[in-house]
Structures are given as C-alpha cells and as structure tokens.
Amino acid sequence: MSDTLLAILHMCIFPGGAFALIVGFLFKGLDRRVEARLQRRVGPPLIQPWLDAAKLLTKETLIPKTAVRSAFLLAPVFGFTGMAVCAAFIPIPGVFDGLFNMGDLLVIFYLLPIPAMALMLGGSASSSPFGAMGFSREMLLMLAYETPLLMILLAVAMLVGKAMNGGAWGAEFSLLHIVAWQQEYGSLGLNPAMIPALIAYLIFLPGTMGAAPFDIAEAETEILEGPLLEYGGPLLALFQVTSALKTFVVLGLGVALFFPGTICDLWPVNLVWFVFKCLVLMLISLTIVKSATGRYRIEQAFRFYVTVPTGLALCSLILVWVM
C-alpha cells in the first residue's frame, strides 16, 4: 500500500508532476526569451507560460457539435497522464534513481509517444478537416522519428551491456544501471562510438517536441494549428502542460543517456547541475535551431528523418557491434 502511495507521490510531485511542470514551464519561458533575443527582440517575461495557462483557465470551452465528445475531452488527460508517469521514470543522477529503480529504456520508449498519440486522438475526434490533416502529418512524423530513437536506445543498451558482460554479447535496458556505469567509466557523450548517436538524439528532439523546422503537425499558418484547432480554454492549457512535461522528459532522458555525471555528493547541487545540463541541451537542439529555420514540408521531414538521424544512429550501432 505504501508503495502505491510512494509511486503516486513520485508521479505527482517529484520528479513527475509538479517539479517537472515547474522546470518545463521555466524552460518554455527561457526558450521564448532566448529566441526573441536571438532575433534582437525583447521577448515575453519568463513567467509567460504560467500567464498563458492562467488565461486559458478563465476562457470558456467550446466543443464542436460534430465532435466525438468523450474522446475529445479525454485526449488531453490521456497525454498528460502518460507524461506525468513517464517523468517519474527519469533518473536524476545523484538525486533520484527513477521510480522503484524501474527506469527501463523500453518502458520509456513506450510512454514517450503518448502525447503525440493524444494529439492524434484529439485531432481526429474534433471532426475538423484541419485536425485530420494534422493527424496524418503527426503520424507520419512519428513513424519517422521513432526509428532513430529506437536505434539510439539500442546502441546505448548494447554498449553498456557488452561492457558489463566483459566484452560478450549483451544489452542493458535498466536506465539506473546505464547511469551508474557511466558515472564509473565516463559519459557516453564523450565516447567516440556514441557521438553519432548523440547527434541523432539532438536531431530527434525538435521532431518529438514539434518545434521548427518540424512543427509540421501544428503549423499555425498552414493548417491553423491542426489537431489543436478546436481546443480552447482549460483543455488547451492541459495540452500545454503536457508539452512542458514532455520537454522535461526528453531532455532528462538525453542527459541520463549521454551526460549523467555528477559534480559532488550534495543533492541540491546535483539537481541544479542536472537542470543546467538539460537547459544547455535545449538551447542547442531546440532554441537555436528554431530561431534560424523555417518549416519543412512533411515529405521532406520524413525523408530527412529516415536518412540522416537513422543513418547516424546506425553508425553508432555498428561501431558498438564491432568494437
């Protein structure tokens, strides 16, 4: 019973739920601010995501007459729940080992696409033609970026597994063991065999976050924000919260996979260090790319993802295999 309670606490407060939300919204605010500064604008205040969410709570919710009511209302809740649970599985090195030490790569791989699926569900339930268009684009993009992600995870699992088996064939899917191994033998991000996988992960981030140049499914100038078109008020706020949680999850996963080093034994210092590394990851892979690029067409993005990041991840996989 107390285990259940502990799990719920981890999912609601730390590191899932409240903590992930605070970090995610802080990152979203910083993202907009830095993007504005790169374009020589002033930009919104840092608390802008909170203000947006507060505003959305005061707006009325309109549900289209032709929409599938239950699916339309449940889709944002579905996405939010998936991400809150997933955030509890992300280990914060030196602070938290992941829920029940179960931070398993495969569990995270299954939980990660839930917000995209919620978006697809909501888009198709809204009965809007733009929602349907967003649905098909999101699905195509998801097929494209999930392949390199799976290969990156496999490369990491095989490298650590082989090393732990003393050079014999093996794969280690426990994120806790992967982090512990890296703390002993050095970060994977500095390992020459893993550098292609790291670059592939950096390319995977804007795709999964729906940021430019891969904001194809929610393109506001082409298809009026696609799946989000019919959402307004508190439901839209829930989608924004989900997106903030997802920011925390994918950046935290990146840090855990490639740079899980700690600087000392104090947990507050480690926590700040972890958030700092996530921030650097976000600035490199999301903000700078976003402020300098336009938007790909869906077939260009698909072709890009199945060639460049998949090829890079495959390189890493082969390097791990032969070494």
Binding site: D52, A54, K55, L229
Partner: protein, 149 residues
C-alpha cells in the same frame, strides 16, 4: 473567489491575437505582421502571440471593408471565438470603408454586424498606432472580465 480574480488579473498579460481579413488590400495585414515580427515594435513583450485558430483568440484584429463575398465567413469565424473577446478594427476600411465606401460589393462598415471595441484608423495605420490599439483592447478586456484597470 480570490483565485478567480487572481487568474483574471494574470490573464490580461497573455493576450493572443487573431487576424481576420475581411477583404483587405493586405496593406494593414503587412503592418500587423511586421508589428509582431520586427525588433523595434515587438508585441511579444506584452505577452501577445499570433495564434492560428480562432478558438485560442482573445483579441481579434479585423482588417478590410467587409466585402459581400467574405461577409458570412467573417461573421462565422467571429462567432467561433470564445468569450471574453475584444474586437479591434485595424485601418480605415473596417471603420468607414474608406475609398471603397458605397461600392457594389461592400457590406461594411464592420460595426453594422460586429460590436467593435477599438478603432485604429490609418491607411495603413502605423505600427505604434496598432500597438496602442492592442494596449487599449487590454483595458477593455479588463473591464469585460470585471476587474479594476
């Protein structure tokens, strides 16, 4: 009750703008786009954001003299915007139809059909005028929410 008021007070710092083109010549639309995008007149510092969907909008910016062809669509889109919303007429066309007044295809001025809250005259208006219009719209939004200015 207190939470409600706090949320409303915070919410006026996040006005999302939505543009409706009611048969405009695009001059005002160009001004709107550059007002948001160029460094000198950055409206994002007010917390504004251009949104693509009428469902997300708080402040509606209407340009153009409301031609016969777009009238029904403009009214339909305007109805889709959730309350509370503030309507800003940008340019001389939605206010008085300008040089198009009395034309066979003109249904405007726009306040025959839609309650307009702020008028921003000009052909096209200067970016500063549009910014002031948005700032005035925020004051009206506060009144509509029932909180002190």
């Amino acid at each position: 009750m207190a939470l409600d008021t706090t949320l409303k007070k915070l919410s006026v710092r996040s006005p999302w703008l939505f543009r409706i083109n009611a048969g405009s010549c695009n001059g005002c639309d160009v001004e709107l786009a550059t007002t948001a995008c160029i460094p000198r007149y950055d409206v994002e510092r007010l917390g504004c954001r251009y949104c693509g969907s009428p469902r997300h909008a708080d402040v509606v910016l209407i340009t153009g003299p409301l031609t016969t062809r777009v009238k029904d669509r403009v009214l339909k889109v305007w109805d889709e915007i959730p309350e509370p919303k503030v309507t800003v007429a940008v340019g001389i066309c939605p206010i008085s139809c300008g040089v198009f007044r009395g034309g066979y295809s003109i249904e405007g001025p726009i306040d025959r059909y839609i309650p307009v809250d702020v008028n921003v005259p000009g052909c096209p208006p200067r970016p500063q005028a549009i910014l002031e219009g948005v700032a005035k719209a925020l004051e009206i939004w506060k009144k509509k929410l029932g909180i002190e200015g």
